[in-house]
Amino acid sequence: MYVDTKAHGTSSKALAAHRFRFGESRGFLGLLFMLPAATVLLLFLAYPLGLGVWLGMTDARVGRGGTYIGLENYEMLWTDSVFWLSVFNTLLYTVVASVFKFALGLWLALLLNHHLPFKAFLRAIVLLPWIVPTALSAIAFWWIYDPQFSVVSWALVRLGLIDKYINFLGDPAWARASVIMANIWRGIPFVAITLLAGLQTIPPSLYEAAVIDGATPWQRFRFVTFPMLTPIIAVVMTFSVLFTFTDFQLIYVLTRGGPLNATHLMATLSFQRAIPGGNLGEGAAIAVSMIPFLLAAILFSYFGLQRRRWQQGGGD
């Protein structure tokens, strides 16, 4: 009898303690709090991604569920010259636009980091291209690049630099340059403002120390600003490359991939084949082909982003 009571007491106490520990357990609570975010991610990111990969291995068309055909879509793409042209276009577009966005954005950030009159106002203005909806700014560029009404052509003719209007979006080389220009214009603010934020975390006393150490303005940039900015440059440029690589709106409004597919990017080609063209499977396969490139960009930044030794805090 005595033993029984004791055993009973212990087990109920153990149960209470167990329940208490369950609520207190960091692992359980962590999972619980992660659940909403995980649901959203699974539903709206993982599921469409998985669906896209699956569609890429079917012959689905609009209005007709497809059957599994393995890698046939990819085999077709392998020999499709338009697809390879779009890969080339995408790489050219991304590389050229990113290089310019980085150089001009950094330059703009350095300028804005100086004491200027109406500093806050200027910084706000710089953000404008980025906050205007892309479709809207693309329409503005459409006008700027119009073969008959282009303000650029008009100005150049008036200045006597050219005789006839440039066919910005009709000539393959000009079209490529034009869409890249528009993308650069749109992407600079993001780079500039983010790098400006990075610049402002550099303590002014470092520059003063460098001045006393005898560094010229270029040397201050080269030995103080640039190395201290590298971590944020890695983040910004990763995002910039990802945005540029997957760009769609600007091209679709300006050229729809023309002329002669000269400005077709992988994203626009994928859309064109899948929705207007009706070949959902093939479109999905093109979209999935972007993944290796994007992964490469992310891996590059992952290694670029790794905390440098000097950033690591250390015990005394």
Partner: protein, 357 residues
């Protein structure tokens, strides 16, 4: 090494003048401390010597050469910043070598100089580390090493110890003083901490609101403060101050306080009969005596033992006075006693202008 001469130097930010014509002569090999409360202009003055701030008026010369228009790197100075300003992406060696590398000095010479400085500062084992991996005191030493490597004419220190904890601060100030005794480089040191100023300086420049209040050796400032500001600023705990009127009787001078207590002043004190004055006496110059003796009647309010001595805060008439004693009296709050000023230790200041009489 060189002297630094500051002549009628002014500094204005827009229309707002913060330094109103300052004259200081800093001798060769001297260690001068600029001290004053926040906003007195001491850091601005130092930054003008360094060339980080434009000089709005007057002249600064280093080693006889006027440097008003000379860029910082050609002034042959080195500066130690409050936050050390070490380049976080360079290791200790590169931080110290940076200025010489910019001058394209011979790598062997750089190595020799950096290692020499590291030796002086016991930084040898840390040359490969990054600033993040160092303690506050070590970073401070690297900042000094960076200055030493340059072998400048003048060292400038801008509150270099204020980011350190109290114990380390005491240790580092001794190190800096020892370093100066060894290198004999002219040094200008800015601090708001009067103890730092007292312990380190050959001469102290007390600044307040963009003016120099007094220049002198630590003990001169302590023993003969030129005005009420210096009297109150130098010395810890601060000097006790009593307001009153100056009276003379039988060839002796007294200050009769507002509470009608008579405090004897030195007989050669200046000032006129009946003039409004402030009588100052340091806590260490007030002796605790029994209620039966002659002295200021006081009531104990708070007792603060510090170990070396005991600070007794008493109510004397309408003011609180502090007495410091090395003896260990069994005192209790509320107890009545007498405070006896040490003869000849009182200071008398004009109440209106604050000048010493």
């Amino acid at each position: 090494m060189a002297s630094v001469d500051i002549r009628k130097v002014r500094k204005a930010f827009g229309v707002h003048e913060v330094i109103h014509g300052i004259d200081v002569d800093i001798g060769d090999e001297e260690f001068v401390v600029l001290v004053g409360p926040s906003g007195c202009g001491k850091s601005t003055l130092l930054r003008m010597i360094a060339g980080l701030e434009q000089i709005s008026g007057g002249e600064i010369s280093i080693g006889g050469r006027v440097v008003n228009q000379v860029p910082p790197k050609e002034r042959d100075i080195a500066m130690v910043f409050q936050n050390y300003a070490l380049y976080p992406h360079m290791n200790v060696f590169d931080n110290m070598a940076f200025s010489m590398k910019l001058r394209r000095a011979d790598p062997a010479e750089i190595k020799k100089r950096v290692e020499g400085a590291a030796d002086i500062l016991d930084l040898g084992p840390y040359l490969g580390r990054y600033p993040r991996q160092l303690s506050g005191g070590q970073r401070q030493r690297v900042a000094m090493g960076r200055a030493i490597v340059r072998d400048p004419q003048v060292f400038l220190f801008d509150e270099p110890l204020s980011n350190l904890d109290a114990k380390l601060r005491v240790q580092m100030r001794t190190e800096i003083k020892a370093l100066h005794q060894r290198l004999r480089t002219t040094s200008v040191y800015v601090t708001h901490d009067q103890i730092e100023a007292m312990t380190m300086a050959d001469r102290i420049v007390v600044m307040h609101d963009g003016h120099v209040e007094q220049i002198g050796t630590p003990l001169e400032l302590y023993d003969r403060p030129a005005n009420l500001f210096v009297a109150g600023f130098i010395g810890s705990p601060a000097m006790n101050l009593f307001r009153g009127l100056l009276r003379r009787r039988d060839g002796k001078a007294f200050v009769v306080t507002d509470d009608n207590l008579a405090l004897e002043a030195e007989s050669d004190v200046g000032g006129e009969e009946g003039q409004k004055v402030v009588y100052g006496i340091r806590p260490g110059h007030l002796r605790l005596a029994s209620d039966a003796e002659q002295g200021l009647p006081a009531e104990v309010e708070v007792i603060e033992p510090t170990g070396d001595n005991t600070l007794v805060f008493c109510k004397v008439g309408g003011t609180i006075a502090c007495a410091a004693t090395t003896e260990r009296h069994p005192l209790r709050p509320g107890e009545r006693l007498r405070l006896v000023p040490k003869p000849g230790a009182g200071h008398v200041f004009d109440a209106a202008g604050g000048q010493r009489l």
